[in-house]
């Protein structure tokens, strides 16, 4: 039986020491009516060789299509060293660093992570991760409601340019606490949140305004104007950002006159493979004034009995294991291993490497949009600057086009018709630093052919201008 080391002899010795006749006797406090006889529906055990065979078959089944799909999960280069080091047993099988003296490896690494996130975001403090970007945004909203003492309203302004899944997750997590999400429309021309739409809310009580950068469409928002409006109106500014984009873009800590108060986002671009959507990690940063409202683990630097520098979990009194029903969050396990990878990733790339990667994403997406936009009927939407994603309108049904492309082993993009029906037959495309000129050319060629075959077929919805 796998992984259990006991010999029959040892079992007998142990039972003798306990004073029990059989292992079964050790379960005698459990009512007989509850005891299971056997598990019929579970398949029989497989050896490692057999499961190896099965998993290889399954992995090959899904192919490895060329990825022009982003929408919150990005295909980036991850240096080989990142996961070779991260899967060392000392990191992979370590526990949460509650016994600090026995966990200085993880703790120092997490302190370095916090330092790097502070540098990247321009904020004062970072925590040691949450589950993912969407749930991090939910925690940021909860935090803003707690931290904004002046606001009594529990109302949050949420632009439609925030990732639709994020908005859904936030709603699902905060709705039982009477927090209201007020939706802001996006500008059909620019694909951004025009600060002018906030005028109707002037003088009303909001706990916070959420500001994405870049937004779900890849478009860059007017972050300074939005941040300043929030502050002038007594609301906190919550930035939702792509950490790789921050290598090029102005960070939330420097938005507007005072900087964003809280910023969060998805850390996947920093060293986490696509892996069907997880595990990723959410990051959360804030200004010094809000540090005690921040959920999740935080590592602090201190000294030991001899005055030597060491690292430890701190501010634990806010967390569930101590504060219980009054905790800042119920979170316990976070995404430690992913943060380990992200830290090594950031150290390997450094600012120079991240800037080059980000610049390549920017450049490749432009090339992609130029190539695809040259196809008759394919129209890039939104005339504002974008980071590494763009929306394209197609002269054929988006779902059907994407299906055909997939059959040619290309993931062409995300169909936007479900979440943004007003855009018509539109897709969101992305080209990271990994996409080569050949791949882009091949995509354009295939798309042209698919459109020619399906061309002119729309779904009946007339796109509004």
């Amino acid at each position: 039986m796998p992984f259990i080391p006991h010999t029959e002899e040892e079992v007998q010795e142990m039972l003798a020491a306990i004073g029990a006749a059989s292992i079964d006797d050790l379960f005698d406090e459990i009512p007989a009516s509850l005891r299971l006889s056997q598990l019929d529906a579970i398949p029989s055990a497989l050896s490692e060789m057999e499961i190896d065979h099965l998993m290889n078959k399954r992995a090959l089944q899904d192919g490895q299509p060329v990825c022009f799909l982003g929408a919150g999960a990005y295909d980036h280069h991850i240096p080989a060293a990142v996961w070779q080091i991260t899967t060392r047993g000392e990191y992979y099988t370590a526990y949460t660093p509650y016994q600090a003296e026995a966990s200085q490896g993880t703790l120092q690494l997490l302190y370095e992570f916090q330092s790097m996130m502070v540098a990247l975001t321009g904020m004062d403090v970072s925590n040691a991760s949450l589950y993912d970007g969407a749930s991090a945004l939910a925690e940021a909203v909860l935090m803003a409601v707690r931290a904004n003492r002046k606001s009594k309203s529990k109302r949050i302004l949420m632009p439609r340019t925030v990732h639709p899944a994020y908005r859904r997750v936030v709603r699902n997590i905060v709705k039982n606490q009477q927090i209201e999400l007020v939706e802001l429309p996006f500008d059909p021309q620019g694909g951004h949140t025009d600060p002018a739409v906030l005028e109707q809310y002037q003088g009303e009580d909001f706990a916070a305004l959420v500001i994405p950068q870049p937004n779900f469409f890849g478009v860059l928002e007017e972050v300074d104007a939005l941040t300043d409006w929030a502050h002038a109106n007594g609301a906190l500014a919550i930035g939702v950002v792509n950490p790789l984009a921050l290598a090029l873009l102005n960070p939330p800590g420097e938005w507007g006159g005072q900087g964003a108060d809280i910023c969060c986002g998805e850390g996947q671009p920093l060293g986490a493979p696509l892996s069907s959507g997880g595990p990723y990690f959410g990051f959360l940063c804030c200004k010094q004034a809000q540090v005690r409202q921040m959920p999740g683990r935080i590592i602090g630097r201190t000294e030991d009995l001899d005055g030597k520098v060491g690292y430890t979990l701190t501010l634990q009194a806010r967390e569930q294991h101590i504060r219980r029903s009054k905790a800042t969050s119920n979170i316990c396990t976070n995404q430690g291993l992913m943060v380990t990878a992200a830290t090594i990733h950031m150290a390997l790339l450094g600012s120079e490497g991240l800037e080059r990667a980000a610049a390549a994403c920017f450049g490749n997406t432009r090339k992609l949009v130029d190539a695809l936009g040259a196809i008759p009927g394919v129209t890039p939407l939104f005339d504002r600057p974008a980071f590494h994603e763009r929306v394209l309108r197609l002269p054929a049904q988006a779902a059907s086009v994407l299906r055909s492309l997939a059959a040619h082993n290309v993931l062409g993009g995300l169909d936007l018709s479900r979440d943004y029906p007003e855009l018509g037959e539109a897709i969101l495309v992305c080209a990271t630093e990994k996409r080569t000129g050949d791949e882009i050319a091949a995509y354009a060629e295939k798309l042209a052919r698919v459109i020619q075959l399906q061309g002119g077929v729309t779904c009946g919805l007339v796109p509004k201008e």
Binding site: C67, Y95, T96, S115, L315, R366
Partner: protein
Amino acid sequence: MLIYEQSKTGRYAPAQSPLDKADVSGLPEQFRRKRSAALPEVSEMQAVRHYTRLSRKNFSIDTQFYPLGSCTMKYNPRACNSLASLPGLVSRHPEAPESHSQGFMACMYELQEMLREVTGMQAVSLSPAAGAQGEFAGVAMIRAYHEARGDSARCEILAPDAAHGTNPATAVMCGYKVREIPTGPDGDVDLEALKAVVGPQTAGIMLTNPSTLGVFDRKIEAIAKTVHEAGGLLYYDGANLNAILGKVRPGAMGFDVIHMNLHKTFSTPHGGGGPGAGPVGVSERLIPYLPVPMVTREDDQYRWLTEQECPESIGRLTAFAGNAGVLLRAYIYARMLGREGMPRVAEFSTLNANYMLKQLQAVGFQAAYPQRRATHEFIITLKKQAKELGVNTMDFAKRLLDYGFHAPTTYFPLLVPECLLIEPTETEDKATLDGFIDAMGRILEEAKEDPEMVKGAPYSLPVKRLDDVKAARELDLAWRPGAH
């Protein structure tokens, strides 16, 4: 030394990013960073050496015995990692079409089915990202259920005083008030106290069984009946599922919703604090509310069930499908255990725990519930030693580190003063357990002969005992250029 302190201006790892720097003049100035982010500037060799060295300062299951109660620190099979990392699996985009996802989805579907079977529930969703999120999903489903029935009077969640902190924290996140039920002196929940507080305001009760006290609550069927009769639902915190895997099913105990901790029972890696996975299982009446997405099978095709197909779902709790890579590792582990291996997990973890309990009592330690069987874990209390010798649980824990053992869980549950919650798991051999017991015996002697020495432990680690008061008073949470 921090990675920052090894930086040299202008240094980086050229092989790891595009060799040509793309033109970003198309990005207007107003959006651009004014200064580069202050990240480390080191060579690839430096980074590799630094993080490799750091790893060697950690205790880990791969290097030490780690009997942390309630954490289930069992061996993490290497195949789970290598097979979950196969290129075809690790490169799959979450939004890839079903046509290119059948292999992955087959694994998810089969995992759903295995978890369903082993817990005795009617349906399973794999999506919650960890135990606490599983708890959130569970309590949110209870809420959705009562709201759908138009029963808005139910505003309270009950939890034992010994419950893990995530339980009351979760209840509050879901808009409930928490009411604590006391535990009796024999470790079972006080049934009379429970009966006195259930009523039309009771939305449900959150229980762990075996409980956080390391014992099986023998009154579970009566508790279930009491709460159900009052119209409330039963939530099962699966943190201790390892003790009963394949032997008892939470579904049979009367639970309406359960969460499992795959990073405990199904041996996915603890990773220095996650990622975990907290799938939930439900009884018939809660099926409509399960979090999405889930996988279903139609003929021979696997399909996704999303908000579209499940309109009454409590929705999704992360952007995609939860910690998919963790779920794959759990699937591989579950296939390697099979129907034969699962009950043996419960049998041998229980054998190991009972053996340790007896042996520790033999060398002079006091069990918190001496008249009870250990389940897969048990509590000893050092109250006597703290009082008589001035050496407390924290001191014992730190001294154990010097003996090369990670300390058990300390000071949880809060109910038992000066406690150690010890869980060996089934993958440890007798010699390792004997080594631990021997060390505990020695530390007891040291505590009698030289208490000050024990109070100053640890001595053999990269640092001595750390000043956590200083850490909290003088917050230093990030390195800054020029700061140190």
